[in-house]
């Protein structure tokens, strides 16, 4: 058990996995000589050579298509999409090719690839470099979807993704690369596809993932000081999705907020809300609240950018109101 950064944990995961599995290739823009736009693949070109760490032209559709073909023929490619915002260029190769090949071909052709990318706000990178587009992938049968929030998960979920038989979209958060945290190279926090209760609590369940975990935990601390005991669940994987952990918590607390950075309408928060409502209806004391990104493109001006996505402050505010609402209801 040691401490490292999210960035370094990702780098180590790539390095360790490539060491053990010679079929793994990295392919993407600036993954080699430059070391990755966010420095995640630094040193890997030197270590594994240009046949396995491949700097690609600015040709996102063909990069993902190349990964698909490589995965079909015995390689295990990691295609890097520099920003998840470029998903619009590759959704055909991802959703129509990678995701559907096994099915369309009746189980004959597997596509064991990982699409590594990063998303989210925090760098004043504006509307085309700050999005959270995981909802598009979640809505695509055939893809797995992982979004690590912690250092240890960054390492272990990437290692696990690199053993999956099907295409995995692995989304990092640009605001987490410098996050420091505990790292146990030998032990994952939990298995693939399992959600984790990061903070137990009795009054309220907060379901979240990726960077919003940290806002949620900060909010939970503030709430605790106000006598509200929030349970915080980190989903880690969105597909497969661990319904059981969420449902058990919500049936116990009767109150839920789902917190997600992506824009509200049609986002992952909607899916989580719908599921929990379906499976916990009789136990719900209050409406499930979605705390999500505003339904707008991301503005560049730092204050506006920050205000366009959920914060610990907003979570606290909403949680406080949700708890108060109960009283009001009794009083009626």
């Amino acid at each position: 058990m040691s401490e490292t950064t999210y960035r370094e944990a990702l780098r180590a995961a790539l390095e360790d996995a490539m060491d053990q599995d010679p079929a793994i290739l990295l392919i993407g823009e600036e993954v080699g000589l430059y070391g990755g736009a966010y420095g995640v693949s630094r040193g890997l070109l030197d270590r594994f050579g240009p046949d396995r760490v491949i700097d690609a032209p600015i040709s996102e559709p063909a990069i993902v298509g190349t990964a698909v073909g490589a995965a079909m023929t015995g390689s295990r490619p990691v295609a890097e999409l520099m920003y998840v915002d470029f998903a619009g260029l590759v959704m055909d190769q991802l959703a129509n090719q990678a995701a559907k090949s096994r099915y369309m071909f009746g189980g004959q052709i597997a596509v064991p690839m990982v699409l590594r990318t990063q998303g989210g706000t925090g760098r004043s990178a504006a509307a085309q470099h700050s999005q959270s587009l995981e909802a598009w992938f979640l809505h695509t049968p055939g893809l797995r979807l992982v979004m690590p929030a912690t250092v240890n998960d960054a390492y272990h979920l990437l290692r696990a993704a690199l053993t999956q038989p099907d295409p995995v979209v692995f989304i990092e958060h640009k605001g987490l690369y410098t996050l420091k945290g505990a790292w146990d190279r030998g032990r994952p926090d939990a298995g693939w596809g399992e959600a984790l209760v990061r903070r137990p609590g009795r009054d309220l369940t907060i379901v979240t993932y990726s960077r919003m975990l940290h806002e949620s935990l900060a909010a939970a601390d503030t709430l605790a000081a106000r006598g509200i005991d929030a349970e915080v669940i980190d989903l880690r994987c969105l597909n497969p999705l661990d319904e059981a952990t969420m449902v058990a918590s919500v049936r116990r607390t009767g109150r839920v907020m789902v917190v997600s950075e992506g824009v509200l309408t049609g986002g992952v928060a909607a899916e989580l809300s719908a599921r929990l409502q379906e499976l916990c209806f009789d136990q719900l004391e209050e409406p499930i609240l979605r705390i999500a990104g505003e339904d707008i493109p991301i503005p560049v001006s730092p204050d506006l950018e920050r205000a366009s996505i959920p914060s610990a402050g907003l979570i606290v505010e909403a949680a406080g109101q949700l708890m108060r609402r109960e009283v009001a209801a009794w009083a009626r």
Partner: protein, 343 residues
């Protein structure tokens, strides 16, 4: 498939190519029949009749070479050894089809024969051969991967991205454009500002050649060079000219082209040309060839009968093959509703 050295072998190969072309045509005629009998899964059936000259390309491939095809890919796949029964069963949406009735005509494949998949997205399968080439280069396997696509795909940007990457990384890859002059109802000169496709490929660093698809032997000669180059790390482009004898798909009567143009196009028939040449060169006589034609027809009749006798897939199979069976499968909606209503 091998590089025939003796004259005898060359002659046998030419006769084989004729047979393959005839089998393709007979097969496609049965696909038409299947549709007319209402037994095909849908009407999105794209016949490769008129494009049989591509056998000159498939014959230049080696065992173990892989390939992707477009929506009009039956001919290429048959030429690479497909079982017509399993093909027709797939086209009819049956359990015994190549893809268990999930893919149909536009998504037929057989991994074992190197078919990495037919694609219904114009250009969609092209970059996959770049990835296959990357695997083969790294595995030093000596294999080549070839993408087959139509002239319509020459206007899809991903093709040029893929060409550039193949050339930049010197991958064992071949790009084969079957130029049948039309993308649906659009004649190629209404879609491309310049129809010199070889020049386009060359501008992206590929070796390029155009071959007359009415002459399968000419195609074969050109393709041999292209594949030899690709195997040595010089990826190439080959254009096979052709004419689409029928409509785009089964419902299309081609009102956008004249009867004269069609008659003229059909005169560039690779089968008739090969037949004439075989007879002229004394490699076969009309009786031999008629017999061979009849055999091909009979084979495909049998295949059709067998395929349409195959069972339909069970409904529950719908949930299989989304993910690897060792990992969590999608939950059927009815199960989910039951869980909710009994919660």
């Amino acid at each position: 498939m091998n590089n025939p050295s003796s004259t005898a072998a060359r002659n046998t190969a030419a006769l084989d190519r004729y047979r393959t072309m005839r089998r393709i045509r007979s097969f496609e005629e049965r696909v038409g029949e299947l549709f007319l009998r209402g037994e095909s899964a849908g009407s999105m059936l794209h016949l490769s009749i008129g494009e049989e000259g591509v056998v000159g390309v498939t014959d230049a491939m080696a065992q173990g070479d892989s390939f992707t095809t477009h929506h009009r890919g039956h001919g290429v796949f048959l030429a690479r050894g497909a079982d017509p029964v399993r093909m027709l069963a797939e086209i009819a949406g049956r359990e015994d089809g190549y893809c268990r009735g999930k893919g149909g005509s536009m998504h037929i494949a057989d991994r074992a024969l190197g078919h990495l998949g037919a694609n219904a997205i114009v250009g969609g399968g092209i970059p996959h051969v770049v990835g296959a080439g990357l695997s083969y280069r790294n595995q030093a396997s000596g294999q080549v991967s070839a993408a087959f696509f139509g002239d319509g795909a020459m206007q899809q940007g991903i093709l040029y991205e893929a060409m550039n990457m193949a050339a930049l990384w010197r991958l064992p890859v071949v790009f084969c454009c079957i130029n049948n002059q039309y993308g649906m109802g659009t004649r190629i000169d209404r879609a491309a500002a310049s129809v010199d496709f070889v020049a386009r490929a060359e501008a992206f660093g590929l070796a390029g050649v155009s071959a007359d698809g009415a002459d399968v032997e000419a195609v074969y000669a050109a393709a041999q060079d292209v594949f030899a180059g690709a195997r040595a790390g010089r990826p190439g482009f080959i254009e096979v000219s052709a004419y689409r004898f029928h409509g785009h798909a089964r419902m299309d009567k081609s009102p956008y082209r004249t009867a004269e143009e069609e008659a003229e196009g059909r005169r560039r028939d690779p089968l008739a040309r090969a037949r004439d040449r075989l007879i002229a060169e004394g490699l076969a006589d009309a009786v031999d060839l008629d017999r061979l034609d009849a055999e091909a027809g009979a084979e495909m009749d049998r295949a059709l009968a067998q395929a349409t006798g195959a069972p339909l897939p069970p409904l529950a199979s719908m949930f299989e093959d989304v993910y690897d069976p060792t990992t969590p499968a999608p939950e059927p909606l009815r199960h989910r509703l039951a869980r909710i209503l009994n919660a």
